[in-house]
Each structure stands twice: as structure tokens, then as C-alpha cells.
Subunit: 537 residues, 2 copies
């Protein structure tokens, strides 16, 4: 597979610099920005897409420019292996007495506060917290302004033991019947020890609802993890899609396993108490410890991180789906049964039928072990799931699949390996883009040995820490960035416009109602030359 | 891959008739039988293997002759697709009022009696039975002669509900500290309703211990199932290796699911109360029924069919190992997690290290979904497990892998697909023989559409009902038959000598102690010409 196979453009027109310039033009047009340099040889029409997308345009210009300049240093092959070398913090966990793990003041004060979506469509949240000294109240007080709580939701409390560790009192409370697109304030805990937070519900399910996701994987609790978390909080991402491997507490033994689950819960609270984290489980959640008599998979994780699985008719908290704004997000479990006839397989078969791209144009899948990945670490470990699910991913035109597991960043072209007469991946317009973001910064360090030569399916790869953002603009376009942790700064490094796999299709576009016609024409014409190009992103 | 690639013999010497004649000579020599026609062109030495194997020699002659004659009608390609057409019973379950499902007479009489190995090495059995009316006694009375019970073992009882079905009282009793190679009589139940059975323990773990296994898969409860069961009971197989899909009760709804688990328990009792059945689970054991609110996999199966999994340090009754006579038998679960990092993967990694071919030369693996299978039914469904475990199967030189799932018989050559530079199976002396015996006779009928042309890896295939036997003779040789159900008769159809993958290796043979030398030389010389040939069996 060469670049020209992927893009449909002559190879001579296809080095990374041109791809990024072309992208820049598309983004600029979507955002109604004047391009810095609209390369006329690409013969872009001068139509612009109307809409209220002008804000942040200067920032986008800068980001894209930096992206272009950064990519200039890469080689001219189809795929890019970034040669960027960055300073990093040592791959050791932050000491327990560091302030990032500080227990909140006050007797029995709620700690490890985190929220996740609580229903199928985004009108509910599950709020979780831990009290250390006694069970205390299970109530969440909720209101529309700070300090004024109009209603109360009652949750549950439980605790558990893991080897010789005894957990705190874990509270979980479903708060439902919320209004869309509304900021809510909530308080938990008793008396002087009570604590206050807020969250914002997503807009109502709508094909053109804009929404910004952050994507983090393999986070851990090192100083690199802290950079990732802080950088992600700077991006104004409204919800975090977490692709597995949370605390790396399984790197500890006996009592300390539970201790490091607790410290991680406090570590992510500054984000997770305010923004829903959509959880998926990784191998570090399995915690199969025969020497400790702990052999039931996912025990600590399942006790601590509830998911709204019944809302999507799943039978397990490990695989489920939520809809949020214009996105349908499917969470798969790499380490649960997934072959034909198993509950996860049967559930996914039904859930994919429930996806309605007219309502939620963006179909996003999360899993831990990547299906396509050209790092030596964990190479081909996603193959078992690939042979089972890849044909569905193409059939249902999944837009993008985020995975973790490999401690480096990588992005694929749109490729598939589902032809019975071949065993190599080939360009496939119906295939998802596969993105590996296992670079959250945990104590295991970076996976810096990529396979050489870079396989044809690999578009961009770099062994740095970071996270991604996916900013859905409307039913047709979303802007994606991978943000490297660079000397304490967040540097958007791999950026592209994601064309929707359903609404980006010409046939669908022609079916659009009249009131969408103006933007449709613009999208169509802007997209004509770049459609195949964006395949490769 | 052609026949000559596999055997190392010129293709002209390799049609099925020659292969079977050569086999016949080997078997005749092992059994100290004069061959009917020892084709001198194969230059077999006239050494014979001594031992007490002369019995049944006439039967073996007849079986092998029939095998040769049957194979003559097949084509001359590397693999054989049998064109045999047989009459079969309709693929419907036997009515519940048939005598094969009869409830034993007497109030609360024990029913659905079955035994399985209870420890790692064969000195214990787990005896299970059901009482319908009340819990009754949990005791098993055991003795060395009929009616004279020297000791008593105390078991447990439980019951469960499944949707609107309520089970009987399920008793499970571990009887341990048994002597090897000993017939034991046992009685269960109270007063007039008590029932009497017997079982025979295996010989002590010994590399030359002979032992005969029957192999059954996908049995169900039709008249075809009954033929299979009866035929297997005729073979004097001492233990049944069951490769999943027991009752097909999941084809029923609501209350009848439990009812058909009960009827199947009574159906197999004439064999399973006397011979241990080594259980593995198939897809029909999953029973994921969201419409009935039953979504926990394997519930009925796990309540009814205990396995000795703690003895092999497994954390689940669905995967485990037992050692029996000269065999190490590993049971895998096709529908449980098996990818890297999962409990089954970690357990298998350790269990394979525990295999000691000096003590148990025969390494046998059971699973449900076949790894190699060229039927259109379930084609490639074993691929997910293949990519995870195949390299271990070759590294540890597994002798034979039995699977079910596909309702037809098939046998592979010794092949593997583990080379990084190729994605096709190639001949591999270290690879197991893969045998699919999903032809027990259940109500779903036969899978009679094989892929055309027959793939190079497929040695023999036939869409008939039947079962297999594996008769281990010593550390180097075992005799294998697939026995077709043919107009109510058992007809051995696919037969071969299985050379042990560890002791059949020349290097190992040279390491043998002096007292084994005579038979070693014979094996070596007999094997020289046929070693590569038997690779293909």
C-alpha cells in the first residue's frame, strides 16, 4: 500500500507537508477562517460553511500551523514515525505524601469523587465517592446554583476486602431526570466535612450537536500522568473517554494494591468530579493474583468504577454504550469473552443495530488492546478481537476506534483486513481510523521500539506521553488532536479533520433535507478533493 | 502444501491406499500381528515390539482392513473427503417419555448419576446425582466388592432456579484416597431407593501405562445421540473426553431448559455413572437469555457438572487439567477469556510448564471450537484462540487436540501457522494433530457442506455421526479410530497410529534407559520410514 493508494492523489502531491496544508485549508473553511496559505494547486472552491464555529479560530490557526511545521521534519513516506525526543519525568509513581494524593480535610470527608454518565442519553450521572472513617450519608444534594440545592438523591454504600486490604465506604448515587445542557452543582458529605462540585449535562441528542471529548489511556500516577491530566483539563474537553489501565495499582503487592487504588481516585478527582469519565477496563484492571488468593478478574475496578451498562441492555459493566450529544460511544472489554456466541458478542450485535446515525452521526468505539498497532510492545495482541469484530466495524462504518495498552501514540489509515482472499490490510473507506493513546504516563514508561519499516497501515506514530481530543463540530466534521506532553507544555502534534463516515458519504448527503442544503454543498465541494485524503487520517 | 510436502515421500507413493497399508503394517507390528500384506517396497524391518499387546489382534486386522477398503473409494488428493452417505435418524430430540429418560423407581431415588476425576492424578472421583423430592442423604458408600461398602464419603447438596424452573437437589461428593487400578463399588440414596454403581480407577501415573479414551462431542439427546453413546460404550473406553455441547437444552425455552438438562443427565447415566467423563464447555452451555433474565454464562452447566479445577491450580471450573495413566489432559474454555493477561492464559502458561513428559508422555488438549476445520459451518471461529495459543501448542509438542462444535468429523495433518513471514498453515512436525469430533448427533443435524477444494491442512473429513477412541499403548504409540454410526453399527472409519510427540523424537529415544532399549530400536526402525507419514495423521 502506498500513499497514492490511500489518498487517490499522485504520490508526488502527497508528502506530509501537503497533506497538512490541505487539512489546514479544510479546517479553516469549516471554521470560516481565512487560510494563511490556501495552496491553489489543490483547486479548493471558495465556498465557506456557515455556522457559529468562528470562536477559537485564532487558536486553531496556531495549532494547525504548529502541526504543519512539526510534520515538516518527518520523512516523506506514507506513514510518519516522529523522531521527536522529549525530556520526561522518571517513570516512578508520585510518593503517597505528595499533595496530589492529599486526603481532604475534615472527619470522614468524601474523597475519590468521580462521575460518569448514568443513562443511555446523558440525562443522568452516577456520582461515586469514598468515606474513610464511617459510612456516613449516601445523599447527593443537587441544584442549579452554587450552594442552593433543590433536590436530593439517595445512593448506596458498600465496602470490600482485597487480600489484607479493607476498602473505605464506597458510595454510588444515580442522579437522574436532569435537563440537557445545564450546569448542576452538587454537594456530598456531612456538616463541616461536606464538599461541593459541579458538572454540566450534555446537549440533547442531536445530529449537529457539537461536543468535545478528551481521550486518555494507561494513565497511572506518575509525574508524567500528572502532566497528561493537567493538559487534558486545559483543553476544555467536556467528557473524558478513558481507554483502560487506570491506577496501575496491580504493580503493588498485598495491602498496597488497595492503597494505590485509593490514591489514584484522589489523583483524578480534580477532573473526574466535574467531567464524566467514560470507563473501559484494561489488563491492569484484571488483577489475577493467585499468590494472594485473589483470582476474580476486575474486582477492585468493578467495586469502584460503576458504569451505566443496564441502560444499553448489557449484562456486564465491562461492555456497554452511551449516547452523548451527537455521538454513540461503544465500550468493549478486551479481556472479557468476545468470540461468537458470548454475551459481549451477542450484545454488540444488537447494540450496533440500535445505532441511529440520523440521531447520533458519530460512532466511536473504545477498547484497551489496539486492533492495529505497529509498536513492538503488544504487537498483534488485538488480533483475537480483530478477527471477530473487524467486519462489523466496517459494515457499520465506525468513525474512530480509540485504544490504549501500548505506551506510545499511533494513528492508522482507514484500512481493513477482512477479505477472504488476502491476509494483509488494504485501504478501505468503510473502515474506522484506529488510534492508540496508551501514552498517559504510567510507571511502566514508554514503548519506544516501533517496527521497522513502518507498516503501510500506520499513518503517524510517536513514543511520547500525551492525550487526544476529539471536537465534534457538526454531523459531518470533527477536529482531532493528539497533544504531546512537551517539557511541561501541551503541544498539539498530530491533527486532522475527521469526516463522518455516515454523513460524509455522498449518497447520504444527497438525501439531506432542504434546510441543510447550503452547508451540504459546501461540505461536498470542499470534501471532493480531500475526501480520499481524509481517508488516510 | 502437497502430500509429498507433508510426508517426505514421493507423491506417487502416497495415495491413501498406500498410507493405510503402511499404517496397517505399523499397527500389526506394534500388536505383534502378521501383516496380511506387508508391502516390501516400504522396506520395513522385521523387528517386532514385544509386549502383552496380542489380544484383540484379529479385531484390529479386521478394523484396519475395513479402513483400507473404505479409503480406497476416496479420491487421490492429499486430503480425503469421504463420500459416504448414511441413513440417519431424524435430527429431533427423543420424546421425554422414552425409556432412555426414565426416572429411576422409588421415592426420591438418585438420578442423573455421573462421575468425573476428582484430583490431579486419578486417585479421587467426584460423584454427582440429583434427588427430585427432598434433599435426602449426601453420603456415598464405597467398597471393594459389590454390596460391601467399607467407607462413607459425605458430600454437599444445593439447588438453584433458572427462570421459572427449579432444579432438583444436586448432590456432589468427592471420594478420595483411592487405590490406583482398582474397581470400586458405590451406593447412593436411602433405603429401598438406593442405587448401586461401580467405577475403576486408572493405573498409577506411568509413562508406559496403557489406557483407552473415548472422545465425544456435541452429543444432545436424539436417536443419533443414543447411537453414539451406545457405540462408545461398546468400545471399552475407560474414560470419556467430552469436548463440549452436552444437552442442547438451550434450544428450549423457559421451564423446558431445565427439564432437558435433567433428561440429558438421565440419558448419559448408563455410561457416566461408571466411567469418568472429563468435561469441557461448549457454546450451548453459555445460555445467555436476556429475554428470560438469565445472562450469567454457563449457569446450568456449572451447577451440574463439577470439575477438579483447584487440583491443577485453576481459578475456574471451565479450564483445568488432569493427569490419568500416561496422559496429561488440558481442558480449555473456548468461551471464557483466553487472550494474554487473562486468568485462563496465565493458568495455561503455568500448566504447560508443569507437564512432565517423562511421567505423562501424552499431552492432550480439549476445547470446543476447533482451531483447524474446513467445514463451512463455524469456519474460522477458532481463529481467535489459534492466534493466542498455537505457538504454545507447537512449543510444548501437544500430541493431539480434540474439539467439537462442527457437526462433522475432520482430522488435520500436523501443520501450524505461526511463522511471522507467512499467513498460511505449513507442515510442522512439532504441531498437534487437530481432530474435530462434533458429530455426537444432536438435534441441529450434520454440517455437510465442506469447503471446496479441501484445504491442504485437512487430512480426512466426513459428515457422519460418530465418536473417536484413543488407545494409548505405551509411551511411544497410540491407536486412534474415528467410529462412524452406520445403520446402527459402529464402523471404525478413520484410523491411524499416533506417534508420541515427545518419545517419538529420535533424540529422546537415544536417551532411553537400557531396559527400554529393545522396544526402542524396534520403534525407531519401524518408525523411520513412517515417521513423516504419521506426521500427516
Amino acid at each position: 500500500m502506498t500513499a497514492s493508494h490511500v489518498s487517490g492523489l499522485p504520490a508526488s502531491l502527497h508528502p506530509p507537508i501537503l497533506r497538512h496544508l490541505a487539512l489546514y485549508i479544510v479546517v479553516a473553511k469549516i471554521l470560516n477562517v481565512t487560510p494563511l496559505d490556501s495552496k491553489q494547486s489543490l483547486q479548493q472552491p471558495s465556498l465557506t460553511i456557515s455556522g457559529n464555529l468562528g470562536k477559537d479560530s485564532m487558536l486553531v490557526q496556531l495549532l494547525l500551523l504548529s502541526s504543519i511545521l512539526l510534520t515538516c521534519v518527518s520523512n516523506g513516506n506514507a506513514g510518519v514515525t516522529s523522531s521527536f525526543i522529549r525530556n520526561e519525568w522518571p517513570s516512578v509513581d508520585i510518593p503517597l505524601d505528595n499533595e496530589v494524593f492529599a486526603v481532604p480535610k475534615g472527619y470522614n470527608a468524601p474523597q475519590q469523587v468521580h462521575i460518569t454518565q448514568g443513562d443511555y442519553d446523558g440525562r443522568a450521572v452516577i456520582i461515586s465517592w469514598v468515606t474513610a472513617d464511617e459510612p456516613g450519608s449516601n445523599q447527593v444534594r443537587v441544584g442549579l446554583s452554587e450552594g442552593k440545592y433543590d433536590f436530593v438523591a439517595e445512593g448506596t454504600v458498600h465496602n470490600y476486602t482485597f487480600y489484607n486490604y479493607k476498602s473505605g465506604y464506597i458510595h454510588q448515587c444515580l442522579v437522574g431526570d436532569l435537563q440537557y445542557d445545564t450546569k448542576y452543582y452538587y454537594a456530598i458529605g456531612d456538616g463541616d466535612s461536606s464538599r461541593k462540585f459541579w458538572f454540566k449535562t450534555p446537549p440533547e441528542i442531536d445530529p449537529d450537536a457539537s461536543y468535545k471529548f478528551g481521550i486518555i489511556g494507561d494513565l497511572g500516577q506518575t509525574f508524567n500522568s500528572l502532566s497528561t491530566l493537567k493538559h487534558c483539563m486545559q483543553t476544555s474537553a467536556q467528557t473524558i473517554l478513558f481507554v483502560g489501565d487506570l491506577s496501575y495499582a496491580d504493580r503493588y503487592d498485598n495491602h498496597d494494591v488497595g492503597v494505590r487504588w485509593d490514591s489514584w481516585g484522589r489523583f483524578v478527582e480534580p477532573s473526574a468530579a466535574y467531567q464524566p469519565w467514560i470507563w473501559s477496563a484494561g489488563n491492569h484492571e484484571i488483577e489475577y493474583f493467585p499468590h494472594m488468593g485473589e483470582v476474580i478478574p476486575f474486582r477492585n475496578y468493578l467495586h469502584r468504577y460503576p458504569t451505566p451498562y443496564p441502560a444499553s441492555k448489557s449484562s456486564s459493566p465491562l461492555w456497554y454504550a452511551v449516547r452523548r450529544a451527537s455521538a454513540h460511544i461503544i465500550v468493549l472489554s478486551s479481556y472479557s469473552p468476545f468470540v461468537k456466541y458470548t454475551p459481549q458478542w451477542r450484545w454488540l450485535e444488537e447494540e450496533l443495530k440500535r445505532v441511529d446515525r440520523e440521531k447520533t452521526p458519530w460512532l466511536i468505539v473504545l477498547m484497551h488492546a489496539p486492533i492495529y498497532n505497529s509498536n513492538n510492545a503488544h504487537f498483534m495482541e488485538g488480533e483475537s478481537m480483530r478477527v471477530v469484530f473487524e467486519s462489523w466495524f466496517c459494515q457499520y462504518k465506525v468513525d474512530v476506534i480509540f485504544a490504549g495498552h501500548v505506551h506510545a501514540y499511533e494513528r492508522s489509515y482507514r484500512i481493513s483486513n477482512i477479505r477472504p482472499d488476502s491476509s494483509n490490510p488494504v485501504p478501505d473507506k468503510s473502515a474506522p481510523v484506529y488510534i492508540t493513546v496508551g501514552d498517559g504516563g504510567n510507571q511502566e514508561g514508554l514503548a519506544n521500539r516501533f517496527r521497522d519499516p513502518q507498516p503501510d497501515y500506520s499513518a503517524f506514530r510517536e513514543a511520547s506521553y500525551g492525550h487526544s481530543t476529539l471536537e465534534i463540530k457538526n454531523r459531518t466534521h470533527a477536529i482531532y488532536h493528539w497533544n504531546r506532553n512537551d517539557e511541561g507544555k501541551r503541544v498539539p502534534t498530530d491533527s486532522f479533520v475527521l469526516h463522518n463516515q455516515y454523513w460524509g458519504n455522498n449518497r447520504r448527503r444527497r438525501k439531506l433535507k432542504k434546510n441543510h442544503l447550503h452547508s451540504v454543498v459546501a461540505t461536498l465541494q470542499v470534501g471532493e478533493n480531500l475526501d480520499l485524503l481524509s481517508m488516510g487520517m
